[in-house]
């Protein structure tokens, strides 16, 4: 197990150091890490993502294999579970919305135990649901907040989110960091805590440890690296925000330049983000796109009412009634079963 996460941890540290060292005064790779890599990463992300989604869409959906998680639409006096066993598009949309926004299926999670070795129990298990929700919403908030670096003027929703996110002001008593400490963003802390939780459950829950691959630890460490370097820049290093915004705006307006005074930590931060973007389409992170296409959830369950068409349905060899009767005619007649042709008619 530790091999899996050590490899990922080392990979992230090495990646960080490459960018950090490469952009030190004198190393002179600022253009590489500040402009070329981010552009490449974006291209990989967009193209890779689109290709993945198009690849999925190209595959046929021959059958309607919904997972029906409740009572079907049936006789009028049975109450249908309209969302869990949807028979209308609207209900499917609601089902999908709840899956994507509330992680509804994960909310069902239980934990099985054999108490006394003989009695099976299932307890509600919400930690993963809470951890995953916290992680995703914090991640989302962080992403949205970062739009301030890529927009001018900054859209109102970004500023609003910043205010909500940063309402909590912590008194920090150490002299060095006290002066001019900006409002603490909750999302960053929640993100770190949630990632830490996701990491720990991978290490400490034996079943999850057993199924975890290096590829499961890598994004976690990457996100930790991104979050830590971000937090470091914001609260401790006091980087030159004006210069950074000049750089990021240059990227989005396609007039890239590397201004003076951007620190190496920032380049390392942006490098890790670039890696995350580039890695995204080739990894399990594509669940972002895939969840929308999951056939068990995004189709109606009323397969008996509305015919589903299989684009590649083809005729198959069957054993027809006539062949069957030919095989068994005499026995059938003897047993008094009706036949189409009497034995004497048979050629």
């Amino acid at each position: 197990m530790n091999k899996n996460y050590m490899v990922s941890l080392i990979a992230v540290i090495v990646l960080f150091l490459i960018a950090y060292v490469g952009t030190q005064q004198g190393a002179g790779l600022q253009v590489l890490f500040g402009i070329i890599v981010p552009y490449l990463a974006i291209i990989l992300f967009v193209v890779g993502f689109a290709r993945r989604v198009m690849g999925w869409s190209r595959s046929a959906v021959p059958f309607r294999i919904t997972t029906t998680c409740g009572q079907q639409s049936s006789l009028p006096w049975f109450k249908q579970a309209k969302i869990d066993n949807p028979s209308s598009t609207l209900a499917v949309i609601i089902r999908m919305f709840l899956e994507i926004v509330c992680f509804r299926s994960l909310f069902r999670n239980t934990r099985m135990r054999l108490s006394g070795g003989t009695r099976m129990t299932h307890q509600m298990e919400l930690f993963l649901w809470i951890g995953a929700l916290a992680f995703h919403y914090a991640f989302f908030a962080v992403v949205v907040r970062h739009l301030r670096f890529f927009t001018e003027p900054v859209p109102i929703f970004v500023t609003l989110l910043e205010q909500v996110d940063g309402f909590m002001r912590i008194e920090v008593l150490y002299d060095i960091v006290q002066a001019g400490l900006p409002g603490v963003y909750m999302s960053g802390l929640v993100l770190l805590a949630a990632v830490l939780y996701l990491f720990l459950r991978r290490v400490f829950i034996p079943q999850v440890r057993y199924i975890s691959l290096a590829a499961d630890f890598f994004p976690l460490f990457l996100i930790v690296g991104i979050a830590l370097s971000g937090i470091f820049m914001r609260y401790f290093a006091k980087v030159d925000i004006v210069a950074i915004k000049e750089l990021t705006m240059g990227l989005v307006t396609f007039r890239p330049s590397v201004p003076e005074g951007v620190s190496a930590v920032f380049f390392a931060h942006m490098f890790l983000v670039s890696i995350l973007l580039a890695y995204f389409p080739f990894s399990k992170l594509m669940h972002l796109g895939g969840v929308f296409l999951s056939p068990t959830r995004n189709m109606t369950g009323n397969t008996r009412q509305v015919r589903h068409v299989n684009p590649w349905n083809y005729p198959v060899k069957v054993h027809t009634y006539d062949e069957y009767e030919d095989d068994f005619r005499e026995k059938m007649v003897e047993a008094g079963l009706p036949v189409v042709k009497m034995p004497e008619e048979q050629a």
């Binding site: 899956e99 069902r108 239980t110 829950i205 079943q207 999951s294 054993h319």
Partner: protein, 540 residues
């Protein structure tokens, strides 16, 4: 067989749900007696014209594979990725969160980590990454990829035949990943190499030729029903006369052949016969049986989509030939999954049938308006609701009943309240099992998807443990002594599981209970139920 079966206590004490040791890729498969089913009889594989029929033995080193087997798997894999979006998406998006891990009855009952649904799927995913993804090709094992080898193939075979395709895992997965779907694809690939199990291949071959899994020929099928006719007369004094392949009958009835063949399914079969006789006498409804379409179940479903279609075709073909209005389906699990999610698509549209209406009550079965096949529980529930059945539920009073939702009607259809409604109307003592073990969260009997053979009894008992444990709970709590179900595989599988885990509980089909309660016109005073056991108050 039975005498070497591990004792329940011992089985339980062996279970450890905390996987440890080398990683799963470094743990070679150990094909263990009692946990696997015998290899397919080459004759059966040949009957269907499926590839690579040959005698082989899972325990032997050499599986006599075709020379280019890796290429066959690779090409077959690619073809299925293109044909099934489900398969492709599920190969890509699992985050290995482990939410599905302890939801599988086989993992709960064996503790074998490769029975965690996520790992079962990873067995295929690791090959998928290696063969079809850039990241897998570059990162290799770090990215969870590994090349296809003979050991991997054996691992596939062993664990894909330790999944009953029950889909419980898919209820809990945040992305709805359906491991059953992955198992289905994996089994299709194995079938390309002739690697089916005999408990599936031979019923399939039988069904293709004789119309049913058990290979009962038409005259013998009639003989068996005649046998029930006699029993029914003895118990109720009524002479029933089931029609066969009656042209122009109102309804064609199709049910799994298992109910014709073995107890306690036979009592359910007698139940159908009584119910239909009742409807004929009282309301003139003509429901016909067929020996050609004498199988509701479809073990082709456990072989490949194509085989499923070939077997399923008989239902519509026979309905068309006989000119019935619509089809009524008996109690069966996977049969109803096929009907609900595949039949109309594969072998429809059934435009030669009418949208099903219950001629007795006038109720339209709108939910079956395209497939034109109605479930016996829907049908019976409708009759009861409209007061069309005269019932004396007290005849079932010595049965303290709980209800087992079969996986397929529950998670592949949503038939949950209809059988309960029927049950509540024909029996007075009904207690539910704990909420996490019924309805859409129901536990498999442990022997579905073609695994109810004799040689894999340990696997079946392990897989049956969660269901049995919940039954045990209501047995201890409420004195439950009867486990009702609407599935022929359940009726074949659960008695063994009950005998092993909760010997005090018996298994019954729902229609058996209906027929016990049903007051037939002109019946003599009944002294026993359909099993010949004294009715309450008639003991002695």
């Amino acid at each position: 067989m039975a005498d070497e079966l591990i004792k329940p206590d011992e089985l339980l004490s062996k279970i450890d749900h905390r996987p440890s040791g080398a990683g799963w890729m470094d743990t070679p498969v150990d094909i263990r007696k009692g946990m696997y089913c015998y290899a397919a009889n080459p004759k059966s594989v040949d009957t269907l014209g499926l590839p690579n029929a040959r005698a082989w033995n899972p325990l032997e080193e050499d599986w006599k594979l075709p020379e280019n087997w890796q290429q066959i798997i690779h090409d077959g894999f690619r073809e299925r990725l293109d044909k099934f979006r489900s398969f492709k998406v599920y190969m890509d998006i699992c985050v290995r969160c482990g939410a599905c891990a302890d939801k599988c009855h086989f993992f709960i009952g064996t503790g074998d980590p490769k029975n965690m649904p996520v790992l079962r799927a990873e067995l295929l995913r690791s090959i998928y990454r290696n063969d079809f993804t850039t990241a897998g090709k570059i990162l290799g094992r770090l990215g969870g990829a590994r090349p296809m080898t003979l050991d991997v193939l054996k691992e596939w075979w062993y664990y894909l035949f330790q999944c009953t395709e029950c889909r419980r895992c898919s209820v809990f997965c945040p992305y709805g990943i359906d491991t059953a779907e992955i198992t289905i694809m994996g089994r299709e690939l194995l079938n390309l190499l002739g690697l089916n199990i005999d408990w599936i291949a031979t019923p399939v071959a039988n069904c293709y030729r004789t119309g049913n899994h058990l290979g009962i020929q038409p005259h013998a099928f009639k003989d068996m029903l005649d046998f029930f006719v006699e029993d029914i007369e003895e118990i109720t004094g009524i002479q029933v006369d089931p029609p066969y392949m009656e042209k122009g009958a109102d309804i064609l009835f199709i049910t799994p052949s298992g109910d014709v063949f073995a107890d306690p399914g036979t009592y359910t079969c007698m139940g159908y016969m009584l119910l239909f006789h009742y409807l004929k006498e009282k309301y003139g409804l003509r429901i016909t049986w067929s020996t050609y379409a004498s199988e509701g179940g479809n073990f082709g479903f456990f072989t490949s989509h194509e085989t499923m279609k070939r077997l399923n075709s008989k239902m519509y073909a026979e309905a068309k030939r006989l000119g019935v209005k619509w089809i009524l389906g008996g109690e069966c699990g996977h049969m109803w999954r096929v009907i609900s999610q595949y039949m109309d698509t594969m072998n429809g549209p059934a435009d030669f049938l009418e949208e099903p209406v219950n001629p007795i009550t006038g109720t339209k079965f709108e939910n079956a308006s395209s497939t034109k096949m109605v479930h016996i529980s829907e049908f019976t529930a409708d009759l009861i609701k409209h007061g069309k059945l005269e019932l004396d539920p007290s005849r079932n009073d010595n049965k303290i009943v709980t209800f087992h939702d079969s996986c397929n009607p529950a998670r592949g259809m949503g038939l949950l309240d209809e059988p309960r409604y029927v049950l509540e109307n024909v029996a007075n003592n009904f207690y539910e099992m704990p909420a996490n073990t019924i309805r859409e969260q129901t536990f498999c009997c442990g022997s579905g998807a073609g695994l109810n053979a004799g040689e894999n009894m340990e696997l079946r008992m392990a897989g049956g443990f969660p269901r049995a444990n919940a039954v045990k709970h209501v047995h201890e709590e409420f004195g439950v002594n009867m486990l009702a179900c609407v599935c022929a595989i359940d009726r074949a599988a659960l008695p063994a599981s009950m005998e092993y885990w909760v010997p005090e509980v018996d298994v019954t089909g729902l229609t058996e209970l209906v027929a016990n309660a049903l007051i037939m016109p002109g019946e003599k005073e009944r002294e026993t139920d359909l099993r010949g056991e004294p009715l309450p108050g008639m003991e002695e």
